[in-house]
Symmetry: D3
Subunit: 255 residues, 6 copies
């Protein structure tokens, strides 16, 4: 089984964190490939940065189309996830998507611990889009600028644990989600230090991607996740053109 | 890894279906044990029957306490699930819980196809309890009494496919969940016949249970899924008494 | 009119509190019987304890089937309520159910004052299940272990009043619900001391049970509260067997 | 105990229906007085008509202030209810308010059967305002103009039963609410003819008003249902002036 | 284009504030007329006061029927708005309605800054009625009695800015709504002083009223905002009688 | 005042429709410029196509940065809207955003009439993201492939009117929203033919953009719509680089 993880951030140090945690998690027969966005910002915190990241992920997903059994959009907030789920014939999973699935299997209400204040609005909207607002206890974030995005865990580990404690004590969280690719692997290293179960996005995404490939649920030929109808387009990269050409012909009813 | 699946229904034929699908799904190193409720009804369709099933599952979970790495409550509707999650130190997963986690990773809105009309209300309340009402496209059920609960798939396969088709066409489902232990394995045998991805509870639960054991998220010593405080009790089976004795002492603050 | 109140807790002292308040409330022609759960825990605070309590209530309701005009499940959180409503041909009311109905007739938003921190999650889920989350201002609870469950009112009366004050001032409550059978009668003794209307579960349940018996709304022969279809069962007490035998024959269409 | 029921419609024939059902329902010691709106429309179906009815009820409630132990706003849709609850020191109940409380104690989801198509939007907004949208299965209404508002029950009884049947079969209702003062008493005369429990507003309101008086929950001196702060006013009837003069002096903090 | 703004409060000083801001906002060709409620209270803070204000607005709207192209109900909380929208053939806009439309076009979540604590409940219910609860970050209000309703801006300007700051910092507001006719014009004078966009009701209502007149969307001959069916009425002012006479004849089907 | 409208579709014929309606709507002093996406698909119906469109709009918005007073994202579904609202210092409006604001000012519940079945899921998610799900009566779409996207109005006008009729009669819509840039101007040409008010996105967006510019609400220096913190980026066009350089320096606290 081949998993492609795409880091929508341009930070190679974050890609390294993702790769390390993905490799620790993957089953023996799983081949993990991790790519960095060819364009975009160092780490996505806002809707506009996510808009750029989504396009970057789409470009990479298209270039490597046919070379993986499942795609992981490896940023919390899942830029481009639902769009890619339409055009790709394989499972597509995001870090939020995956971490929330894990969290929901471990308790009733979860909190998200994040790397900045600013990122909270975007994460909150992502959770709401997934219809899980009633299970979200809180989102708490670090409140200082990050000195080094690739070393947040080292610099801020104690502070992140404190935030998680407050999520449990003050907000009623049953589960903690450590959010964001820069925290990949932290859940593993905090094992036993938190008073409730704790999950992260990368390990959850790798496990769930493997599960979906194994379950063989089939793909969508109808409904809102079927490939978009083929139609005229303009100015797209050859990879994206090939991807769009895999949809149904628009001259047939589009239901 | 040892998984215990408990069938809250008393039908041995349904237990066989559960076992067969669980074994087809489990990873090589996973040992699957499937038990049948020692008391209850043949197949649970209502809140009252689920109340009985919950207690039967609790009794079995307590008797075998310490002998499994994860517990699967093997009826859609998840009788007793959240209570058991409090008292057991390992992952506890239900068929609804698990199937919905799979479905949410495959599309935005899902429909549930069920074995009777009557069962729809109970399933709907289960989905609502999980906070996923906004992603539920519909619940459709067979409308004739079941001749043989152990052979619903054989008797009703075409009718179930038709119901799934209507979920996609009329209700806007992106994913189909085949609900209920009596349909265990049907998603697998329908592979490629439905226009959208299709999942079932047993295979989803086995995969996700394995994932949660592998992820080692830790257990709850605080919050609403910590073990209940130890307190006087009366009239319980020795197994349940032992289980309750694993909680924190009530003389300490209970937060 | 005969009312049966079942205390799902095993504390006889709590049963006494329930009986005293029920007798103070009941109309002249109403005969009140109060029974204690034959098995379970001293006082229910969690989902798992409620699972046990639900089965204990079911057993007692079945044993005394036909001997009462309405049943009151006399613990806040209403263990087993909706299941029993299916199988019994008479009104079945719980303390939460009843207190919330009173509260909704007195204001727009209510707060719940409870006997422990731990119990809040279970109460919150109960309110959500009743679809009343948007009217819930807050749930506040005592934060120390209870010395004596039968004397919470004596020990903690001032602290409970303070919690109620904060519900009004900080949380915007229009009505206070004093929750839990151990607080039965407290609303009555606090009369005039709180700045907003205050209700409790036992008195509300007795009044509403009397009302439903008087209104003669009829019972359900269809829909999700009709008796479960008759089907094979196993290992149940004679009383539960008799109760299940009152449903419709499964060979008829089950709609 | 003195109950004042105010019919916000100007139809004396509807007032007679209300009075008859209220007297059938009231406990021996309850004195029932029913008044007709001194101005307004024959039967309220819309928001604008309800706006007028609310003012008419307020005027009558003010004129008779101090002469009743509880007030019933005797139109479904509850015109003026929440405003009157602020200014009156006694329980104030509406037909929707009361019927929904009854329905919620009898099942999980209810449908409303109404006297016209047009009235459905106003009823739906009333249910939503009470936060009970998730328990509303449907609102169905007669689709022909009413020949005689005082004789809807006689003219349309069979059609109303058919609508109730469809609410159960097609919409999943567990309980039927017969809505509107013109249907007062119909639930009683249909006893045993519907497949699920059935309630109406007038009998529910009388019972619940009696209960609230008996429970003595206290009144609001703070929160959003305390009397409005005293402040300058202009052009109001002497009765309304007296009513507004019962609030707290505005020179004190208004919290 | 003629706009009629009706102040449902009886304070002439507030009417002056409304007029000044409306005239500053109106386009060159727009003729603005502002009227004061002929009866009611000095400033509306509660549901009951709003009930009175609604009737006062209705009376004025009826008296001047046919003399304006759009009506603005010039109190936050929008007393009578939806009822008037039924009977009037032109756009009818309220201050809440209008300010929320502006706020929604400027960000995702908004907070409301108001002139008293008491008024918060009524405002909150208004926002909920408009279905915008998920976009409401908070409602904060002044907590001292108002010395002079016509000079709140002068007396409390700094305090209002502080409340707005807290809405942004503590509550996550993207936009501030300055609520209530007594604050008309304050958004304009605070320009540049707040860290997020800021709108008020009067200027928003004038702009949106002009837009709706210009867009010519048509009026409702069916649906829940069509004029109420003509039916018998009693005791109404000549103006209200004329207004009600503009609806469809009740002898036609009422759909 | 200069308005820039960007058509995220690549169809020049649709751009022409947008321009014509925008010019019909704009106030005398408003200068309207309409641009076509430099890359993307002919007409956006799905999440993936919207992902591409969002990036194309961002590119054009960046290239013309500083040359307009407000930006209109001229496709229903509003691709890129919320991201652009972060980075641009002027009002940014989308067709859904704008049409829903108009619809909410005209009635309580609205339906959307769209050009295809497929597009409904994307539109539904957009409405849900704006928190307006409770006001959405339905989304109905044409069910045949479009022969000519630039002439849908000519080809399908009668069918679109029929869909609108069903929204009113079957779904309870108070207002109709004609959705999608290809329908720009249709609301105007249907004037008087529908039984409820009818709005479209382009005319609404132009009016509301003009209003927001006139109201001068200020821009966000804090909160979730402040410009993203400046941080390292890679591979972006010069225009996007300039746009991102307008945010606050990341070395300052990012709150």
């Amino acid at each position: 089984m081949k998993l492609l993880l795409v880091n929508p951030n341009t930070s190679a140090s974050v890609t390294d964190l993702i790769r390390a945690e993905a490799e620790r998690t993957a089953a023996p027969g799983t081949d993990v490939q991790v790519l960095t966005a060819p364009f975009g910002v160092a780490y996505i915190e806002t809707r506009f940065e996510a808009l750029i990241g989504a396009y970057a992920v789409a470009e990479l997903a298209a270039r490597h189309h046919g070379q993986y059994d499942a795609l992981v959009v490896a940023a919390f907030g899942d830029p481009g996830l639902q769009g890619l789920r339409e055009v790709l014939p394989c499972p597509v999973i995001g870090l939020t998507d995956a971490a929330l699935a894990s969290a929901c299997l471990l308790g009733q209400r979860f909190s998200i611990v994040a790397i900045s204040q600013r990122i909270r609005a975007w994460y909150g909207e992502t959770v709401a889009h997934y219809g899980l607002g009633s299970r979200l206890a809180s989102i708490r974030g670090l409140d200082e600028p990050l000195a080094d995005i690739g070393n947040v865990q080292g610099d801020q580990s104690e502070r992140l644990v404190q935030l998680a404690e407050r999520c449990v004590t003050d907000d009623g969280a049953d589960v903690i989600v450590l959010a964001g690719a820069p925290l990949a692997g932290l859940a593993r290293s905090l094992h036993g230090r938190l008073p409730v179960p704790c999950v992260d996005g990368v390990s959850s995404a790798v496990r769930h991607a493997e599960s979906l490939v194994a379950l063989q649920p089939g793909s969508a030929s109808r409904g809102s996740f079927a490939p978009p109808p083929i139609k005229p387009h303009h100015g797209l990269s050859p990879a994206l053109q090939r991807l769009l050409a895999s949809g149904p012909d628009v001259s047939a009813p589009s239901n």
